[in-house]
Symmetry: C2
Subunit: 305 residues, 2 copies
DNA sequence: TGTACCGTTCTGTTTTTTGCAACGCTCGTC
DNA sequence: GACGAGCGTTGCAAAAAACAGAACGGTACA
């Protein structure tokens, strides 16, 4: 649903996204000339150019940035109101849009969403799995209601609605010698080849911080931006990988892979944080899902905020 | 400035205000039929009627209430963004809309606004003086950015941004016997005829609360909803009136009227509160004015919040 | 120096919005 | 109980806005 009367707002949004009138026009199924006129008319009404014209396309001006944010906020808020009107009509429909780190794609989110949908049928989900920078981008563009990230850089336009204390886990094959032990220390892991998450995965920052002030030398045989890749790798050999607690199969061995919490006294800790765009009204379904998420996390570990 | 593309939103807003298509059409300078079609088209797009049709006119449905609030929020937020864009262009323009109780109309607001405008030329003000119920209404309808009220009933959609502890004052002629004293007690006032603020003025609630648990019997000779009326009345006789501190000329005798703080140990107190609509982004000028207001109040009395 | 892509303008066409007159309806009143 | 005043609503033609397609002028990159 996009409401005929907000057409021009959608135009501006798309032009900013595509960075070009012609590309935007194609996506909007109108001609470039028509789109161009709408942009120019709006600029005339505002008395300010919203875009800088370059040979390669259009870039937002400062005023454009401001206005675009307003446009996206309005479009998102309209969707929320529309959802609440549907709710009044008795239709329990709605969508929750989530942007999350990879770690949550493995078990937490799928299971939680499945359970939530059984209790609240009619509510649909959009889940975007991406790195933590893209999570913030999605929140800012009103493409996600909630962002779930490990080690997010604080930003003044984001509000942290929940923080869950997370410990680091070593991930290994079920038959791995370390799997036989209850407690695993970091120096135990370093006896084996390591499959490391790459720098734009949250867990990496923690590991770097540890190695920086340690004399232990890691033997990295694989580095990847995919937890799935790392997990599948360690299944068939004696390598050890790392992941944050919430993303690991602790209690049950799944697909021949298991995990153990790393017991390390002075290990740097970083919480898993749930964030939203500051000052935004979340749609009702997102509010309810957040409550379910909080309940889930409280039963699982330490919820800080 | 109202932006061509939000035309239909203005239509809905006006229809809700006027309660009738024909009256709204007249104010909007279009025909009733054209307006009617826009309303119907919008309802069709939303899949829900926004208005109930009666022989006397249109009344909002539940969905209509919801949507109207969104419309007004959107229009107000657009004004804010437009102001910030003007700000980018170097034009320091903007408007601060205030809804306030009568008590503030006497000296605080006029003086503060005057001073503020000297420091920030180009910023204009809209001040609506009304009873505290209308203040809340104006905030809800996005007609006011800030509401200044004495004894506001708490509401879930209002956010209190500031509270100033207020004491009650006795107001009397400059030559009144009580004016010769430094400290005035309630029972001193009751020696004289009283000019009482009427029930929908904030100060009245306090007085009622006091009399309810006191054996003193007030001799009320005048009751009015206008502080100006009360003040002018006591000037020429020995009657005593009441007003909250912020609205009274304490230090200087103005127009032959003066005031003294009432010293009463267990007197009920109610703060003057500054409120805004919860979850709303205030325009930049309003934010700056609020800061000036806070500074002023801090120099004048006890700011609680 | 060409070529590919960009935003833009000009033309006429299509779609949307509007005004006007008329209709059906519900109220309050004579 | 008829009647007028007010209301929302509907057809139809006119006006206005948005549109597509071809052509123009420019910049960037090979």
């Amino acid at each position: 649903m996009s409401l005929q009367y907000l057409r021009v707002f959608a135009y501006i949004d798309e032009v900013a996204r595509s960075g070009s009138i012609r590309k935007a026009a194609e996506k909007l199924f109108i001609s470039a000339s028509a789109l161009d006129r709408r942009v120019q008319d709006l600029e005339a009404e505002l008395g300010t150019p919203l875009f800088e014209r370059h040979a390669r396309g259009m870039r937002l001006t400062a005023a454009g940035e401001l206005f675009l944010h307003h446009v996206r906020a309005q479009r998102a808020d309209f969707e929320r109101i529309h959802g609440e009107i549907e709710h009044l009509k008795g239709m329990r429909r709605g969508t929750v849009a989530i942007a999350a780190s990879q770690a949550l794609a493995f078990s937490v989110l799928p299971e939680l969403i499945d359970r939530f949908r059984r209790a609240n049928p009619g509510i649909t989900f959009k889940v975007l799995i991406c790195d933590r920078q893209a999570v913030v981008t999605a929140l800012r563009a009103f493409e996600a209601d909630l962002g779930l990230v490990y080690s997010v850089q604080p930003a003044s336009d984001l509000a942290v609605v929940m923080e869950v204390e997370q410990r680091l886990c070593a991930v290994m094959a079920a038959g791995h010698p370390l799997a036989a032990r209850d407690a695993v220390r970091m120096r135990d892991c370093l006896q084996y080849p390591l499959a490391m998450p790459d720098p734009n995965l949250g867990a990496r920052a923690l590991l770097e911080a540890f190695f920086a002030r340690s004399s232990l030398k890691p033997n990295v045989v694989l580095e990847s931006n995919s937890f799935e890749m790392l997990r599948n790798f360690v299944r068939t050999n004696d390598a050890v990988s790392f992941q944050i607690q919430v993303g690991t199969p602790l209690q049950y061995n799944q697909d021949g892979v298991t995990a153990r919490v790393i017991e390390e006294r002075a290990f740097p800790r970083q919480p898993l944080t749930v964030a939203q765009l500051k000052g935004r009204h979340l749609p009702q379904p997102a509010v309810r899902f957040l409550a379910a998420l909080r309940e889930e996390m409280q039963s699982r570990g330490t919820v800080v905020t």
